[in-house]
Symmetry: D2
Subunit: 331 residues, 4 copies
């Protein structure tokens, strides 16, 4: 495999890939030579600043795209043309139009493509999904998601990130679709509660919304850029026969009892919450590729999650109820 | 004290009052003689079918009104005129206009009046409130509430109950105000997911909504008439410095480990979730009366919770964002 | 009923009795007139310094004995002679010989007698017991109990209390018998870890031990006079099909998430851990008396718990494995 | 590195090593060629049936010994003579005498040696240890450990395993020493509760015991070969200022609420409970070797854990309190 992109997410993925014998990375490409070299050294791979070194190498079966979002669609296009299998970090593109073209390129080329919604591979989410597929929850009726990051990115990043629901909430909205299918309508409100400077740029650090699913279920979603108490990811699926609640409340597995009562530490970031998921999604990518099995989620699937995120963002920014199908045409 | 109303809620209150030496009930009034007699016998009190027997008895300091909602306002008026202190079950009235008149009657007569939002007296909610008042949470930023009943009332009751947010969600909305102050705007969607018959009558069994508080915070609320898994009441307050989470997940205090893993029972209804709260609110009523201290929540406070519930109900039924101040004038 | 003993435990019981309409206390006896008067006033009863005022009053059906342990046996004897039903705080007596005579007096007189092992009436313990009786756990194989008090009593009390296992551990040992039947052998070690002064008087503040049950199961028990983290009562029963774990870890039902992670308060003493149990045991006493049903645990049952406690104490003090049947003869 | 032993534990370690780029295994030795070949293929290493192929290869820095216990001491001796660094699965040897010679060989040769008590590297245990070292718990006063396996090994294995405390309880006893230092005295009782056949061979499937530490603290330990409810590992350290409780109760992070209440799955075996620990101990081995830092636990340290386990086993089998220093001489 080749890794394209050796910045922040690329480095995070490199740490995961190091531990996965299923995934052998032989080349790392980054336009910044020193990034490429650093990660290549870690992975025992060769560094390049030219994409073509990876795409034209017949020994490379697959590329892992971990560059900034605006480059995703173009890289997918290039990789598909070179007939490489593709793993690309979420979101599949920075816009629906770019995403549509990427999906088309992938499907036309017939290359396998998986988008990095790692939560679907977390043991708890995967277990919930399996039970739901087996009908254990009966008719699906509701959804609730909380996704709160401990610390906001820099203002410069936020200005170009596409917004709270697109950069961050997309994980929660992807889970909504993963568990309950397509969303018909979305409404959202929010604010810049912790950092008034965001307000001047029309940005939000907190948002809450409602989802009406095509199947009739209703749900809520809450996202925030900042908490005082660490990383807070909770997801619930409600059905005719019960409720599935996914949460990693305590990490490590230590409870301290002292004069103040009981207390425990919590996961502080996605690397502490989702180590198994990041590994499992890459293992699934490699193993399914190898076995010729379908990859998941596909670019098409991820395009719908992007559309939902853009619809939520539009609702948040306009104060209007947004019909998801009215956003960005269709595939 | 006298108890007015010996139906379902009256009987529930009687069971609580029996255990409270602070509250001596000497008369039970109900237009249905047998209800009155049954509860009177339990409480060692006299039964009456005439309200005046209670109101004109100078030995009676206070009345506990546990009749159906539509009668609340009239009874408050009558009790205020008779200069009795008043405890009345929530909501304070069936309409804002009736509620306004009740508030006026109480305030004009100068009688103490407490409305039965028992959750405010639950040890966990009361502790959270005390910490918030002490500034432990810093600036308040968010709110989340789930209120799900195990089993829906009969259709006949639902048709006249005022709707999901008025009959049930009012507890959660009262907590929203209790913790974060007044709500500016509310939006809600829902459905009749478990019982299509409700749909024919324009009724909902599930609703989710968003709240925008006057202070800038945002929140969500979710209510349902039915779960497959018992009584589900959870409330969260989010602030600059953390998150307070109130939930009684396990009752009794027994975890069973067997071939299926771990499992536990849950509170199944308000009597299993809130026994301490129902007792504490009546004790507070009696003790504060006796000490000449103010009661809480007052009729005026409760009127605002009713208005918020009606606003939420209007949002749910119309699909529009509702400004709370636009509902029902002001006090 | 009459209450005999208005000291520390009497006052705790009075607070419970106040809330129980099933139990009407008409007389409070204490050799210290001011104690008697204080509790009598609280309960709306008459105060006495003479036991005979209670025992010779034909309007009194039952006595509640909450005096210091050394007086229990004599008072049981007197009450039994007066044909009063008896509730007596644990332990049934200060010595096995005195206990034996008390049991004999009760059984000869044919009066109902219940000993105050309130935990048996806690909802979680009672639920575990019901499941075990129904065979849900299969063959019983093990037991584990932790009983740790937050704060030690005064040294003066400790010197005469009979020791750690007799005053405190007896609750845990009574549960061992309640769930798994009689104990054949006990071994224990301990120390005066927090207070070296205890050591000078041959006293312990911490002890751990093993139990071998007559049915073949084995278990552990741990008791301590002091923790830094509040009241810690945990009990486990292990069987062929699983494990029952009883613990009230969090009270009130509030979890706080802040910069330090998650935290929660804990029950701090028996009144915060066992309010339902203290009420339920008195209600059961009154209701079973009234219905002519047998009381539980009986004086005979409680005598065996005392013997087990004395055996554990002997093991602790001698460093030897003690056969329970070798202690204090038999009944 | 070379791996010596490709049986059950070797295969488990191979799965861990596969994910650890820090540890490059180039040779796998097993007297059973097919085991060696299978694991070698997995690890991309060469297979051998001759130990010397590993020991005489100058490219090999370290050996990982995962053979059956009786061979540990001899292999340690051989590896030490060949000046290889050593990782050896617990216990360090099958007898104290063999262990002593292994320790001597290691120390004489001056080779680094780490024994596989992986729990010390689990994030929760490591965090507890760090807090204790920092004095957060104050004076250490108590210890409690539960170690229960879900399914017993075959009778044939049990007959030669050295007994319940040596094969299994040694992990819990090693933690006792890790946290509170050396144990002075041990007492234990047990039975063959689930499988009477064990009894015929003088074997136990359940044991409970007490520990008296040299520093004055006391504790309990409980081990079992079988539960109906999965893998149950709990450890508590009690101190002047509180209690540290280590337990992984729920895995995956999913709670299911349905008509039966709440329920959750549990880790079912050591691979589900300790994946992080198995990885972390090997990473520490590799990194500390590379950095020239001391390894932990050393063979000497592990010898003391073995002595404690043998003392506990002797107590269990003889019914006597055993002084640990009286067992097997000293180092």
């Amino acid at each position: 495999m080749a890794m394209i992109g050796a910045g922040r997410m690329g480095q995070a993925h490199a740490r995961v890939l190091l531990g996965l014998p299923e995934c052998r990375v032989v080349r790392v490409v980054d336009s910044q030579a020193e990034n490429a070299e650093r990660v290549a050294a870690e992975l025992g791979a060769q560094a390049s600043i030219h994409l073509e070194d990876a795409l034209q190498d017949p020994a490379i079966d697959a590329v892992i795209i971990t560059t900034p979002t605006p480059t995703h669609a173009g890289l997918i296009h290039a990789a598909a043309s070179a007939k490489k299998a593709i793993f690309v970090e979420k979101p599949v593109a920075h816009s629906l139009e770019a995403g549509r073209q990427a999906v088309m390129a992938v499907e036309r080329a017939g290359v396998p493509c998986q988008v990095g919604f790692q939560r679907r591979y977390d043991p708890a989410y995967a277990r919930a999904k399996a039970l739901i597929e087996a009908g254990e929850l009966g008719r699906l009726e509701g959804f609730r998601a909380v996704g709160r990051d401990p610390t906001p990115p820099k203002l410069e990043f936020l200005k170009t990130s596409g917004g709270l629901f697109v950069d961050m909430g997309i994980h929660d909205l992807d889970l909504a679709r993963f568990f309950l299918g397509e969303v018909a309508e979305v409404y959202a409100i929010g604010g810049a509660l912790s950092n008034p400077e965001l307000r001047e740029h029309g940005l939000f650090d907190t948002a809450v919304g409602t989802l009406r699913f095509e199947g009739g279920a209703v749900g809520t979603v809450e996202v925030a850029l900042r908490t005082a108490y660490g990383y807070d990811i909770r997801t619930e699926v409600l059905g005719e026969r019960g409720r599935y609640h996914v949460e990693r409340d305590r990490r490590p597995d230590l409870t301290i009892y002292d004069a103040r009562g009981g207390s425990f530490d919590r996961p502080r970031n996605f690397e502490e919450r989702f180590p198994e998921a990041y590994a499992a999604q890459m293992v699934a990518f490699a193993q399914n590729l190898h076995a010729g099995k379908p990859l998941s989620p596909t670019a098409r699937d991820a395009w719908h999650s992007l559309r939902l995120a853009l619809a939520a963002q539009e609702a948040l920014e306009t104060g209007r109820v947004v019909r998801v199908r009215d956003v960005g045409g269709d595939l």
